[in-house]
C-alpha cells in the first residue's frame, strides 16, 4: 500500500513536470479558477445582504435613556453593554428623539443574546420598525394617518406590523429607497454572474490548452523514444500495445490535467470557500454544518476502496470483452472454417456476463453511495433550519443568513457526491501515466556514437569473426569470417535458421554483433554515424512494408525526386507497367495493408524504392519469395544493370537468383561452410550440391 502511494506520487510528480514549459498559462488558469470560484461564492452572499438589508430591512427601536445609563454607569460588568459598546451604538444608530433605531445585525455583532435580553428588560421594543425618508409621494399617506409615524427631520419610522397592513402601492411608495437598492443589488448580481461566466470559460479554455500541449509533447516524446529503440526490442514488443500507450494512455493523461486536476482544485476552492463564508456569516451554524460533514467523510472512507475496486473490475472486464471480440472478428474466417462458432458464442457469452456482473456490482455501490450523500446533505439542511429556529426564538439570526446557508450547503455537498467518478478518472490516469513512464524508462538503443563521416563509399565489406545471438545461449552466427570486394555480387544460401537474414540485420545495424566486428571500406560500422550508414546500405526485406500514401510517395520515401526520376526507378524495377495500369497510376493510394496490390507488386515497388535511393551497397533478403517465377525473371533483368555499379548481398531461396553471383557462400550453423562460384561448388560435391539437387532432383531424372 505504501509502495503504491509512493509510486503514484512519482507518477504525479513526473506528470506535473510536463507543465513547467507552460507556467504562465498554469498561473492564468489558477487565477481564473480562483476568481470564478470567488464570484460564485459571493452570489449567495449578495442574496443574503439584499434580503436582510433591503428587502426585509427591519430595525430595532432602543431606548436612548437606557443606553445613556449604560454609558455613565461604573458597574458596567453587570450590565449587557459596556460604555464603549453603548457609545458605538449611539453613534451608529439613527436618533429619533428618545428612540434609537438600529438594524438587528448590528446587535448580533455585539452578542447573540443581546436583542433577546433587551426585549426582556424593556429597553428594546418588542416589535420591529421600518425607516424611510419623507418625500412628496409619501406626503399623502403621512397626512391621512399621522398616528402611525415617528418623525425626525425628513426621516420617518413605522412599525412593521402597521406597514404590512397598508396596501402594496402605498408600501412601495414608503420603501422607495429599498427598491432602488434592490435594483442596484440586482445589477451587482448580474455583474457577478458575468464574472463567473467569463472566468469559468477562461479557466476551461486555458486548462484545455495546457492539456493539449502536454499531450502533444508527451506523444512526440514517446514516439521518438520508441522509434529510437533497437529492433530486437521493437520485435519483441507488440505494436498494438505501443499504439495504445501513445494514443489512448496519453488521452487519459489529458483527462487528468483538464478534468481531474482542475475539478479537484475547484472543488477544494469551493469547499474551503464555503466553510470560510459560513464562518463569516455565522460561526454556530457553520459548526453545525461541519458536524454534518463528518458522516459524509466516513462514508467516503468506507466506500472509496470498494468504488475503486469496482471501477477497476469493470475496466478489466471491458477490456477482456473487447480483446476477445476484436480478435474473433479478425479471425472470423478461421473460426468458421474450423466450425468453432458455437464454442465461441459460449465463450463470448461468459465474458459478456462477467462484465455485466462487474457493472451491476459497480452500479449497486453507486446506488447506495450517492443517495446517502444526498440524504446527509438534506439532513444537514434540516438540522441547520431547526437550529436556526432555536436561534430565531431568541432573535439571534437573520433570514438572509439562513437562506445563504441553505444555498451554500448545497454547493458544499455537490463535489462530494461525484467524488467517486473523479477518483476513477484519477486512478485510470495514474495507471496510464505509470505505463507511459515505464515505457519511457525502458531503453534498448543501438548506440549511435559514430564520428567518422562517410564521404564516398566504395563498398568493401568485411566480417571479422562475427558472433551473434538473438536469445542468449542460442548463437546464430559463430565466428563468421568473409570479405566482399567492392562492386561484386555475393549470394548467401543456407537452410532456414542458418543466419542469412541475421547478416542483413547486422549490416544495417538493426542489431550489433555480440563479438567481432564488421568493416565497411575498412571502418568499423559502429564508428560511422547511423543515419549515414543506413543510407549507404539498404535492404529489400522479406515482408515489404508500404506506407499509407501514393505509390510515388512510397518509392520516393521522402527524397525530393521528380516524377521522371520516380518513373525511371520503377522502369528499372519493371514496376512501371503495372503501376501505369492502376486507376490513378503513380498517384494511386496504397490501401490499408496494401490490399490493393498483390504480393508481387509490392515487391516490385520495394525494388523501385531501392533503385531510387541508389545506395552503395544493397541487400536483397529473400526478396523474390513472393513473386511468381515469371515476374521474378522480369525483375532479374532490371536488377542486373543495377547490380553492376554496387556491392550486393543476395539472400534468396531460388538458385536461379543466385546463379549470376560472383561468389556464393553456403551458410550452415552460423558459419560459412562453402564458398565459390556455382561450378566450383557443384564440383565440391558438398552442401551446395545437395541443396541444389533437392530442388531439381525431379528434372534431372526426367531429362
Amino acid at each position: 500500500m505504501h509502495k503504491k502511494i509512493q509510486r503514484s506520487t512519482t507518477v504525479l510528480g513526473r506528470l506535473l513536470s510536463y507543465l513547467s514549459p507552460y507556467r504562465t498559462m498554469v498561473a492564468l488558469t489558477l487565477v481564473a479558477l480562483l476568481l470564478a470560484t470567488a464570484a460564485e461564492l459571493t452570489l449567495p452572499v449578495v442574496i443574503k445582504r439584499t434580503l436582510d438589508e433591503h428587502v426585509l430591512n427591519s430595525q430595532l427601536r432602543l431606548e436612548v435613556s437606557t443606553l445613556k445609563e449604560f454609558l455613565n454607569s461604573s458597574t458596567f460588568e453587570e450590565q449587557p453593554l459596556s460604555p464603549q459598546e453603548a457609545q458605538a451604538l449611539l453613534q451608529d444608530g439613527e436618533l429619533f428623539g428618545s428612540s434609537l433605531f438600529l438594524p438587528p445585525s448590528r446587535l448580533l455583532e455585539i452578542g447573540g443574546e443581546l436583542a433577546q435580553q433587551g426585549r426582556e428588560e424593556g429597553w428594546i421594543d418588542a416589535m420591529n420598525w421600518h425607516l424611510f425618508t419623507s418625500s412628496p409621494e409619501t406626503a399623502a399617506i403621512e397626512e391621512s394617518q399621522p398616528q402611525l409615524f415617528l418623525s425626525q427631520g425628513d426621516r420617518r419610522a413605522i412599525l412593521s406590523s402597521e406597514l404590512s397592513k397598508l396596501p402594496p402601492e402605498v408600501r412601495r411608495q414608503l420603501r422607495q429607497e429599498d427598491l432602488s437598492w434592490l435594483s442596484k443589488a440586482s445589477l451587482l448580481y448580474l455583474g457577478l454572474l458575468a464574472t463567473v461566466l467569463i472566468f469559468t470559460f477562461a479557466q476551461v479554455y486555458a486548462a484545455s490548452w495546457i492539456g493539449q500541449r502536454v499531450m502533444a509533447d508527451l506523444r512526440q516524446g514517446l514516439l521518438g523514444h520508441v522509434m529510437g529503440q533497437s529492433l530486437s526490442y521493437l520485435g519483441r514488443t507488440p505494436v498494438g500495445s505501443l499504439v495504445s500507450r501513445v494514443a489512448n494512455d496519453v488521452e487519459t493523461i489529458n483527462e487528468f490535467f483538464t478534468n481531474v486536476t482542475v475539478s479537484f482544485l475547484r472543488d477544494g476552492a469551493v469547499m474551503i470557500g464555503v466553510v470560510t463564508v459560513l464562518f463569516a456569516l455565522d460561526s454556530r451554524l457553520a459548526l453545525v454544518a461541519l458536524i454534518a460533514l463528518i458522516p459524509a467523510l466516513f462514508l467516503i472512507v468506507f466506500f472509496r476502496s470498494r468504488m475503486l475496486e469496482s471501477f477497476r473490475k469493470v475496466r478489466e472486464r471491458v477490456s477482456a470483452v473487447n480483446t476477445y471480440l476484436s480478435e474473433r472478428i479478425s479471425g472470423m474466417a478461421t473460426l468458421q472454417l474450423f466450425t468453432a462458432q458455437k464454442r465461441s458464442r459460449q465463450e463470448f457469452q461468459e465474458k459478456s456476463d462477467d462484465l455485466l456482473d462487474a457493472e451491476l456490482g459497480q452500479m449497486r455501490i453507486m446506488a447506495v453511495f450517492r443517495p446517502i450523500i444526498d440524504l446527509i446533505s438534506s439532513t444537514a439542511v434540516a438540522l441547520i433550519i431547526w437550529y436556526a429556529a432555536g436561534l430565531g426564538e431568541r432573535n439571534v439570526i437573520t433570514l438572509g443568513v439562513l437562506i445563504a446557508f441553505v444555498e451554500l450547503l448545497q454547493k458544499f455537498f455537490q463535489p462530494v457526491s461525484d467524488i467517486a467518478e473523479k477518483f476513477n478518472i484519477l486512478q485510470s490516469a495514474m495507471a496510464g501515466g505509470e505505463r507511459i513512464f515505464k515505457l519511457m524508462d525502458e531503453s534498448e538503443k543501438i548506440p549511435d556514437e559514430g564520428t567518422h563521416p562517410l564521404t564516398t563509399v566504395q563498398g568493401n565489406l568485411q566480417f571479422e569473426s562475427v558472433h551473434f545471438s538473438y536469445v542468449p545461449g542460442e548463437p546464430v552466427l559463430k565466428g563468421l569470417n568473409f570479405s566482399i570486394p567492392a562492386g561484386s555480387t555475393v549470394a548467401i544460401v543456407g537452410a532456414t535458421g542458418s543466419g542469412k537474414t541475421t547478416i542483413a540485420n547486422l549490416l544495417t545495424r538493426l542489431w550489433d554483433p555480440s563479438q567481432g566486428r564488421i568493416l565497411l571500406d575498412g571502418k568499423d560500422l559502429t564508428t560511422l554515424p547511423l543515419s549515414q550508414l543506413r543510407q549507404a546500405i539498404q535492404p529489400v526485406q522479406q515482408d515489404v512494408f508500404l506506407f499509407a500514401g501514393t505509390i510515388a510517395e512510397n518509392i520516393a520515401l521522402g527524397l525530393p525526386l521528380d516524377d521522371q526520376a520516380i518513373q525511371n526507378a520503377a522502369r528499372l524495377a519493371r514496376a512501371h507497367e503495372f503501376i501505369q495500369s492502376l486507376p490513378q497510376g503513380y498517384a494511386t493510394p496504397v490501401a490499408e495493408n496494401a490490399s490493393n496490390l498483390s504480393a508481387g507488386q509490392r515487391q516490385l515497388i520495394a525494388f523501385a524504392r531501392i533503385i531510387a535511393h541508389d545506395p552503395a551497397l544493397i541487400i536483397l533478403d529473400e526478396a523474390t519469395a513472393n513473386v511468381d517465377t515469371a515476374t521474378e525473371h522480369l525483375l532479374q533483368e532490371g536488377l542486373e544493370t543495377l547490380l553492376e555499379h554496387r556491392t550486393a548481398l543476395v539472400i534468396a531461396h531460388r538458385l536461379s537468383t543466385i546463379r549470376q553471383a560472383n561468389l556464393i557462400m553456403v551458410l550452415g550453423h552460423g558459419q560459412v561452410v562453402e564458398s565459390g562460384t556455382h561450378e566450383e561448388l557443384m564440383a565440391l560435391n558438398g552442401s551446395y550440391r545437395r541443396l541444389y539437387e533437392i530442388q531439381f532432383a525431379e528434372e534431372e531424372t526426367t531429362s
Partner: protein, 616 residues
C-alpha cells in the same frame, strides 16, 4: 445519402428504436418498478422545499424551535424516502439498461459468427468494434440515463411549473423565462459540436494510424534513416489534433458556464421581481425561499432536456448501426433440407465459374472512378470480372493434388470455394458426388481443414492455437501434428515452448513460424480433405520438401490439395493443374505437364537454372 436520412429522421428513429421492443419486453417489470421509484423520488424532492419554506416563514414571523423541529423531522423522513427511491430507480432502470446492453452484445456477436467473407470484406474490424462498444454504450445511455432524465425532467418540471404558477401567479413567468433558453442552447450547441466532434475523432484516429504504421514499418524507416521525417509529420498530426480539440473547447467549454449564467438569470429575476414582491408584501420570505429551491430544481430538467434529445438521437442512430448488422442476411446460407453428414470422396469441379458479387459500396466507388476514366470502359467495369471460367477437374479420394498458376490467376478463389467460404454456383462443385450446396456448411467444413494464404492466429498460446481445430485432441495427436508441421525445430526459439503466447500480448512470429503453426492446426483436425494455399511460401525448398513428405505420409488415403509456386513441391503430387487467367490450361502428372503446359515447363525451366548451363 445524408439528405435522404435527414428527411426521414424522426420516422426512422422510431423504427430503429422499435427494434428494442423485445428487449424491453423482457425487463418491463423492472422498468415499471424503477419508474415507480423515480416518481416517489420526485414527489419527495418537490415536497421538501415547501416544508423548508414554511419553516422559514415560521422563523421569520414567530420563531418556534419545537414546531420547526417537527417539520424538519418530516424533511429528514422525506429525504430518507428520496434516498430509497433513488436506490430503487438506479437499481431497476440502470440495471435493466445494462442487461439490455448485455443481451444486445450477445445477439450482435452471435450474428457476427453467422456472417461470411463478403460481409467482412465490406466492414473493417475497427468499424464493427465501434458498433460493439460506442454504439452499444449510447444505446445503454438512451435506455437508461436518458429515459430516467426524460421521465424525471417531464414530471418534475410539469409539477414545479404548475406549483410556481399556482403560488406565484404571473411572477412564475418571469422566473422560468430564461430556462427554455438553456434547453435551446444545449440543442443548438449539440448540433454545432457534432461535426467538430467527428473531426476530433478522425484526427485522433490519424494519431493511432500514424503510430501503428510507423512501428509496423519501423524496419523500413530505420533502414532508410527516415526517423526525423516520421517524427515531423507526427508533429503536424499532433498539432492538428490539438487544434480540433481546442475548436471543440470553444463550444463545449462555453456550454456549461453559459447554462449556469442563464440559470443565474433566473435567480436574478427572483431576486429582483420576487424581492419587490416581498417588499410590498405580496410574497412572504418563506415563499421566496421555496421559489429559490424550486428554481434550483428546474435547472436540471432544463439542462437535461437538451441532453436527453441528443442522447435519444444518438441512441437511435446507434441502434440503426446495430440493426444493420442484426438484420444482415448471410449471403451464404444452408439449404432448407441440407444434409448434416460430413462428405467424403472425390472433389469434382464441373464447369465452375466464379465472379465476386457486386457489393453496393464498391459499386458507387466504381462509378466515380468511371466518371474519371473513359466512357468506353464503363460497361466493362460495371460487372466484376470472372475470376474462374469453366473450371473442370476432379481430385480423387486420397490423392495429393497440386495447383500452379501465375499471381492473380484465381488459385486462392478456387481453394476458398471448396469449404464454401465463397459460394460456388449450383451443381458446380461436388464432393463424393454431392453438390456441396446441399450440405450444411458445418458438416462440409468438418471434412475440410485449410491453411489459407493469409494466416490468422489468435492471441493465445501456441498450444491453444493448434488445438483450436480440435480442443479434445490427445497429447499424442498434438505431438504428431507438431512434428509433421516441422514446428518441432522452432520450439526452442519460443520462450515457453508450446505455452508461448503469440500475437499482441506475446511474441511476434515470423511468416514461416505462423505457417507451420497453421499447418499443425490443420493437421490435428485430421480432416478428409486438407487444403494448403501456398502454405509453405515462407520456408526454403529443403524444409518444404521435408514438411510435405511428413504430411503426405501422415495422410495416406486422404485427400490433399495444394497451391504452390515451386515445381519441386508440385512434383511430389500425383497430379496437378495449371490455372491461367481463371481457366485450367493443363492437367496431369508432373511429367505430362512438363510436356503439355508451356507455363509449367517455363516455370520449371527458370527454376532449374537453364538446363544447358548445369553441366557446362
Amino acid at each position: 445519402m445524408p439528405k435522404s436520412s435527414k428527411n426521414t429522421s424522426s420516422g426512422s428513429y422510431h423504427r430503429e428504436l422499435g427494434a428494442l421492443k423485445p428487449y424491453f419486453a423482457r425487463y418491463w417489470p423492472a422498468y415499471a418498478l424503477g419508474l415507480f421509484f423515480l416518481i416517489l423520488t420526485d414527489f419527495g424532492q418537490i415536497v421538501i422545499p415547501r416544508i423548508v419554506g414554511a419553516a422559514v416563514d415560521i422563523i421569520a414571523t414567530q420563531p418556534n424551535a419545537k414546531v420547526v423541529g417537527q417539520r424538519m423531522l418530516w424533511v429528514v423522513g422525506l429525504a430518507l424516502l428520496v434516498a430509497l427511491g433513488r436506490y430503487g430507480w438506479r437499481n431497476f432502470i440502470i440495471g435493466s439498461a445494462r442487461r439490455i446492453e448485455n443481451d444486445l452484445r450477445r445477439d450482435y456477436y452471435n450474428k457476427l459468427t453467422t456472417l461470411g467473407p463478403s460481409f467482412y470484406g465490406q466492414h473493417k474490424v475497427g468499424d464493427l468494434m465501434a458498433r460493439a462498444t460506442n454504439d452499444l454504450h449510447s444505446i445503454r445511455m438512451a435506455t437508461g440515463m436518458a429515459l430516467i432524465a426524460l421521465v424525471d425532467g417531464v414530471f418534475m418540471s410539469l409539477v414545479i411549473i404548475l406549483a410556481l404558477f399556482i403560488n406565484y401567479g404571473s411572477l412564475a413567468i418571469l422566473l422560468i423565462l430564461p430556462l427554455p433558453l438553456i434547453t435551446a442552447m444545449a440543442l443548438f450547441l449539440g448540433k454545432l459540436i457534432g461535426p467538430i466532434f467527428k473531426k476530433v475523432q478522425e484526427r485522433f484516429a490519424r494519431i493511432s494510424e500514424h503510430v501503428q504504421e510507423t512501428l509496423a514499418g519501423i524496419r523500413v524507416i530505420k533502414s532508410f534513416a527516415k526517423e526525423e521525417r516520421s517524427l515531423q509529420s507526427f508533429g503536424t498530426i499532433n498539432t492538428e489534433y490539438g487544434k480540433a480539440n481546442m475548436e471543440m473547447v470553444r463550444f463545449w467549454g462555453m456550454l456549461f458556464p453559459a447554462m449556469s449564467f442563464i440559470a443565474g438569470l433566473s435567480t436574478l429575476s427572483l431576486l429582483f421581481f420576487g424581492g419587490r414582491n416581498v417588499i410590498d408584501g405580496r410574497l412572504s420570505p418563506g415563499e421566496f425561499v421555496t421559489a429559490l429551491a424550486y428554481l434550483g430544481m428546474l435547472l436540471w430538467p432544463a439542462m437535461g432536456a437538451g441532453w436527453v434529445v441528443n442522447m435519444m438521437q444518438r441512441g437511435a442512430a446507434s441502434m440503426k448501426r446495430i440493426n444493420e448488422v442484426l438484420r444482415q442476411e448471410p449471403t451464404i446460407t444452408d439449404a432448407p433440407q441440407a444434409s448434416n453428414t460430413p462428405p467424403k470422396g472425390s472433389i469434382q469441379f464441373k464447369n465452375t465459374s466464379y465472379r465476386y458479387p457486386l457489393v453496393p459500396e464498391r459499386a458507387t466507388e466504381e462509378t466515380t472512378k468511371n466518371q474519371r476514366s473513359s466512357s468506353s470502359k464503363l460497361a466493362q467495369d460495371s460487372l466484376p470480372p470472372r475470376i474462374l471460367q469453366d473450371v473442370n477437374f476432379t481430385v480423387e479420394q486420397g490423392e495429393n493434388f497440386g495447383i500452379l498458376g501465375p499471381t492473380g490467376s484465381g488459385k486462392s478463389t478456387l481453394m476458398k470455394l471448396i469449404p464454401r467460404l465463397l459460394d460456388p454456383p449450383e451443381n458446380s462443385l461436388l464432393i463424393g458426388q454431392e453438390d456441396i450446396r446441399t450440405l450444411r456448411r458445418n458438416a462440409l467444413r468438418r471434412s475440410i481443414a485449410m491453411v489459407p494464404q493469409d494466416i490468422f492466429l489468435f492471441s493465445e498460446t501456441i498450444r491453444e492455437n493448434i488445438l483450436f481445430s480440435k480442443p479434445q485432441a490427445t497429447s499424442e495427436e498434438l505431438e504428431q501434428a507438431v512434428d509433421a508441421a516441422g514446428l518441432r525445430a522452432d520450439l526452442p526459439f519460443f520462450p515457453q515452448g508450446l505455452e508461448t503466447q503469440v500475437g499482441e500480448k506475446g511474441v511476434t512470429l515470423s511468416g514461416g513460424q505462423k505457417q507451420r503453426i497453421a499447418i499443425a492446426r490443420a493437421l490435428i483436425a485430421n480432416p478428409e480433405i486438407l487444403l494448403l494455399d501456398d502454405a509453405l511460401s515462407a520456408v526454403d525448398a529443403e524444409t518444404e520438401e521435408r514438411i510435405l513428405e511428413n504430411i503426405f505420409t501422415l495422410r495416406t488415403g486422404r485427400t490433399t490439395v495444394m497451391v504452390s509456386h515451386r515445381v519441386s513441391a508440385l512434383a511430389r503430387c500425383q497430379r496437378s493443374v495449371v490455372l491461367e487467367e481463371g481457366r485450367i490450361t493443363a492437367t496431369g502428372t508432373h511429367e505430362e505437364l512438363l510436356k503439355n503446359s508451356p507455363f509449367y515447363a517455363n516455370v520449371a525451366r527458370l527454376q532449374s537454372l537453364e538446363e544447358g548451363m548445369d553441366h557446362a
